[in-house]
Subunit: 184 residues, 2 copies
């Protein structure tokens, strides 16, 4: 399965009123804390892969998912292969990864306000240390990627956002770039 | 957590009657199919580690567990560090491992008849291609290993089995050695 994803900077207040006007369905707010791992045998920054352990809290509920993301397959979006695996116990998962030589590299924490519009998930992300973004996401089989990506771009347009302002860098990449510029 | 384990070859029929005489508790029979993975960055045969995806079927029930086993810490048993992680979907787990470069190396299939005696699990294993074995197992914290191992050896003795006949090689190791001797 592929994750088709387009992302722009966006002021949430004005986007929320557009989402309400378009009758988008509000699905609630979650707190996501993502730990990204470095691999012992390849440089994920170079191969454009990621291994992420996500802890998601929604009210009283929490869940943990281990996700592998492959390199981007598309020049016009952030589309990647994605394999997700729900985890019962976050500490066992972390212990196995570390025993195998994978090391926690960076943590990305955000509040995600989730909506559904035209079959796409619209995520209003408030990322610690980075600010407000909006992502339009959907899953696709390999032969649907182009179609699903064009649809995601239409969703951006319907929210009065500019598809040409797309950011293809992950939050992890943006945070690391930000830290790099502070340290230089 | 550590897995303390002693293993010997054993004829199941005579052991079963001894277990019944000692009032051991019978816990039922499971079918276990274990896929062992090779790592892309180290040779588990040399480091004496293992990464195992176990599918266990007990009647109508089935479950999957990913287990990391560290190298043996003890000359007198098969005691190892062990980290277990229950898995919902075996195919997602396999897909993530393979995407990260881990490759299925060998499969060990067995029927395990499980008993409890003196707080230890006594497993009567009938291993495809290898025959009948018996394992005495318990979990231990690091500072209990010696005590728990000595108890396991007492359990072997109470079953009229010879602790000096212990086999410290894993079923995977025995199978690979067996294949090696056939191919040579």
């Amino acid at each position: 399965m592929y994750e088709v994803e387009v992302k722009v900077r966006a002021d949430h207040e004005s986007v929320r009123s557009t989402l309400e006007r378009l009758d988008a369905r509000r699905r609630g707010t979650v707190e996501q804390t993502d730990v990204y791992f470095d691999a012992p045998h390849r440089n994920f920054a170079e191969t454009d892969e990621a291994l992420r352990l996500r802890r998601e809290v929604e009210g009283e509920e929490s869940r943990t998912v281990l996700t592998y993301k492959g390199s981007r397959v598309d020049e016009e979006s952030k589309t990647r292969e994605e394999i997700e695996m729900p985890i019962d116990d976050v500490s066992d998962a972390k212990a196995i990864l570390e025993a195998l030589g994978f090391e926690p590299a960076a943590t990305v924490a955000k509040t995600r306000d989730r909506w559904t519009l035209e079959g796409y998930e619209v995520a209003l992300d408030d990322v610690d240390g980075l600010g407000q973004y909006l992502e339009v996401e959907a899953e696709a089989e390999e032969d649907e990627i182009e179609l699903v990506r064009d649809g995601a771009i239409q969703v951006l347009r319907s929210l009065d956002l500019d598809p040409d302002a797309q950011i293809r860098t992950s939050y992890l990449g943006l945070l690391l770039a930000d830290e790099g510029s502070k340290n230089s």
